[in-house]
């Protein structure tokens, strides 16, 4: 168990800068998730931490010790790779023991550790199999087992569930979080799936194009996104964005008429974007609520809940509405949905899209 801190870490691949000065602290025993779209640099950041890539500048510290100059093996971290990276010509036992053999550990100790890890991961009966004879979930567990036997300071996971089918992914998600609780180890987990991030993390780090957009607990990110990118990335279905204009005294005016009162810091007349999550829209009118007239373009009935997609008037965009239960809405039907001002977010309309909610 160890803490990690990154200070102004920069990584260049030739002339291309992929990590732009990242500052981050991961506390002891914390489960931190790096999340972001493909190519945002989250895997590169992980490889910088574990030492498979060298940082171009900046400091990487584990337990307060600068480790930039240490080789990957000497940083005492363990990584679970996306493709599992199991050695195909070795048995499960040999796969898990390989790293321990390399540091010259006594045979008895190796066997004890491997057997303990195997019992923990329910791999005891599979120790003499080869990786090709295992199912996807079993391979995943072997890869995790290989990390556990090393008793590392920090566990690193690089999109470990992306090769599994949906059902297995859900159960492995639970296994990894319960593993985290049992080992109370520091873990860093990379994923592009915001559901995994929300369900597993103590702390989420949202990355875009080599920069950290926001760091915080899952609910903090959901309730108080720092900018439009984080707001759009966290939460499913995605938050609705409607172009609008800030009025005075905390009002926001919509292009197709109507306005609502949301406390915000924008100056009067500034172009803003109003953000409202699909699950915060409702078909019931309420006093003071924002009213959005829609023409229904698509309806998805999921049984427990329903998704209604509609077009706003005057081409002001598309809106997704999530309502509980089943609805009798027809295609082409016109209806009005309502949102409480407290659930609405205001963002700047520029590139950065910073949150302006007060």
């Amino acid at each position: 168990m160890a803490s990690l801190s990154l200070k102004q870490v920069v990584k260049d691949f030739g002339p291309t800068r992929v990590i732009h000065g990242v500052d981050l602290t991961v506390d002891k025993g914390e489960f931190t998730v790096f999340v972001g779209p493909s190519g945002c640099g989250k895997s590169t950041l992980l490889r910088l931490i574990c030492g498979l890539e060298d940082a171009s500048s900046g400091d990487i510290e584990i337990d307060g010790q600068r480790v930039n100059h240490l080789r990957a093996a000497d940083r005492e971290l363990a990584m679970v790779f996306q493709s599992y990276a199991l050695y195909p010509h070795m048995t499960v036992f040999q796969n898990m023991a390989f790293g321990l053999e390399n540091i010259g550990m006594a045979r008895a100790e190796i066997e004890r550790r491997v057997n303990d890890a195997a019992a923990l991961l329910r791999l005891d009966t599979l120790l003499q199999r080869r990786p090709t004879q295992l199912s996807g979930g079993q391979r995943q567990r072997v890869a995790i087992g290989r990390a556990i036997v090393r008793e590392p300071k920090i566990f690193l996971f690089d999109e470990p569930l992306s090769n599994l089918d949906a059902e297995l992914r859900v159960s492995m998600r639970g296994e990894i979080t319960s593993l985290h609780r049992r080992l109370s180890a520091t873990m860093i987990y990379v994923t592009h799936d915001q559901v995994e991030a929300m369900t597993m993390a103590d702390k989420i780090v949202v990355l875009r194009a080599g920069r950290i957009e926001q760091v915080g607990s899952p609910l903090h990110l959901y309730n108080h996104p720092a900018n439009r990118f984080v707001a759009g990335f966290i939460g499913s279905p995605q938050m609705n964005f409607i172009d609008a204009q800030a009025g005075d005294a905390g009002t926001v005016a919509l292009p197709f008429g109507g306005s609502l009162t949301v406390p915000h810091r924008a100056s009067t007349g500034q172009a803003v974007v109003l953000g409202v999550r699909p699950e915060h829209l409702s078909l019931q009118a309420a006093p003071g609520a924002l009213a959005l007239p829609l023409e229904v373009s698509q309806v998805e009935q999921l049984g427990g809940l329903s998704l209604i997609y509609g077009q706003l008037p005057q081409g002001a965009g598309r809106v997704t509405v999530q309502v509980a239960g089943q609805v009798g809405v027809q295609l082409g039907e016109r209806l009005t949905v309502f949102a409480q001002p407290a659930t609405c977010h205001v963002f700047a309309a520029d590139e950065a899209g910073l949150a302006l909610s007060a």
Binding site: R47, C50, L52, R71, A72, A73, L77, A78, M79, F81, Q82, S83, A85, L86, Y87, P88, H89, F98, G99, N102, I103, R146, R150
Partner: protein, 349 residues
């Protein structure tokens, strides 16, 4: 059953179509062309020297029939003899003086029969002249030549695999400046005809004092561009994540090469091993130049030395040719499936 049905499949449903006739004729012709010489060689290697120079030649080896005669030493040749009473009998000859030969009936050894040479004919029967092979072992230093050939083949193949795989590992798994240039250079040497490097190679070997040493044959053969290319292409297919995982597992670069990359390259290594065995075993020109003392001769060189300026002992030459062909044939027969597998997966199409 299915295989048999496949092999005997014809175009014509019930009787042979003309294309069937044509393809079978073509296949039979091919079989004859390919295996005729090999069959002829093998059969001839069992003929005595006399039978080899016989005209018209026969495919099967024949020799004169011999029998033991009581009271005489050794085996005596049998002739078909026309007796004075007009009957023809097969009798062994016990001695021959001038135009007359003395024959005897083994049942009645006390009654010699004198026969004129024109009244008799040798009796021939199918007989393998295995002495061609057994003589080789004693007469020539066959064991020594075999050892030399084996030593060169095995050691050179092992070294070829080791050095080529190390080069291929570096060229496929490390990113360094000039990597492609080095690789192109290696591939480029494929275009240099071996005859051109013969003299420079000889000078190097001579200066290093390796003339008349088996190592003089082994070292120049160790680095092969074909091997580097074959192995590199295969190693490119090994995922880098495996190497990263091994690095995280405290494996040194040598250990990664030895414990991860080498076992995973086994199919490509098998292909290269087969090639290397064939190259080294069949190699003739380079050993001929480097090895001039008969104690260091390989089988191929010994084979050449049977062919003298004045006398060629064809029976031994043929027997030895068969022996030198055997190992390569066996290697090929048992390992050919790896060749197709390995080549296909090495991306060399």
């Amino acid at each position: 059953m299915k295989a048999l049905a496949f092999l005997t499949r014809t175009r014509g449903r019930h009787r042979l179509d003309w294309t069937d006739w044509l393809s079978y004729a073509y296949l039979v012709l091919g079989l004859f062309l390919m295996f005729g010489p090999v069959l002829w060689l093998t059969m001839s290697s069992f003929k005595t020297e006399a039978a080899l120079s016989e005209f018209p030649p026969r495919l099967l080896p024949y020799g004169q029939k011999v029998v033991a005669v009581p009271g005489e030493e050794g085996l005596k040749p049998v002739f078909k003899v026309k007796l004075p009473d007009g009957s023809v009998r097969e009798l062994p000859e016990i001695r021959r003086i001038g135009l007359m030969a003395t024959h005897v009936d083994p049942a009645k050894p006390d009654e010699p029969i004198r026969v004129r040479l024109e009244d008799r004919e040798p009796v021939r029967e199918f007989k393998l002249a295995t002495e061609n092979y057994t003589d080789l072992l004693g007469k020539f230093k066959f064991g020594l030549y075999l050892w030399n050939s084996l030593f060169i083949t095995v050691v050179a193949t092992a070294l070829t695999l080791l050095f080529n795989s190390m080069a291929a590992f570096a060229l496929s798994k490390y990113r360094f400046k000039g990597r492609n240039a080095v690789f192109l250079l290696v591939i480029g040497t494929l275009m240099v005809p071996p005859a051109i490097v013969l003299v420079p190679n000889f000078l190097v070997i001579s200066e290093l004092g390796l003339l008349n040493s088996l190592w003089g044959v082994i070292w120049p053969a160790v680095a092969t561009p074909t091997g580097v290319f074959l192995l590199r292409q295969y190693m490119l297919t090994i995922p880098d994540e495996l190497l990263d995982a091994a690095r995280m597992d405290h494996a040194s670069e040598w250990r990664i090469y030895w414990r991860i990359v080498m076992p995973l390259s086994a199919p490509a290594l098998a292909v290269l091993a087969i090639f290397s065995v064939m190259w080294r075993w069949n190699d003739f020109l380079w050993p001929l130049i480097v090895l001039s003392r008969s104690e260091q001769f390989t089988l191929q060189l010994a084979l050449n030395s049977f062919q003298g300026d004045l006398v060629t002992q064809w029976n031994y030459l043929l027997a030895m040719t068969v022996i030198t062909l055997l190992p390569v044939t066996l290697v090929f027969a048992f390992l050919q499936k790896y060749i197709t597998q390995g080549i296909a997966s090495a991306g060399v199409k």
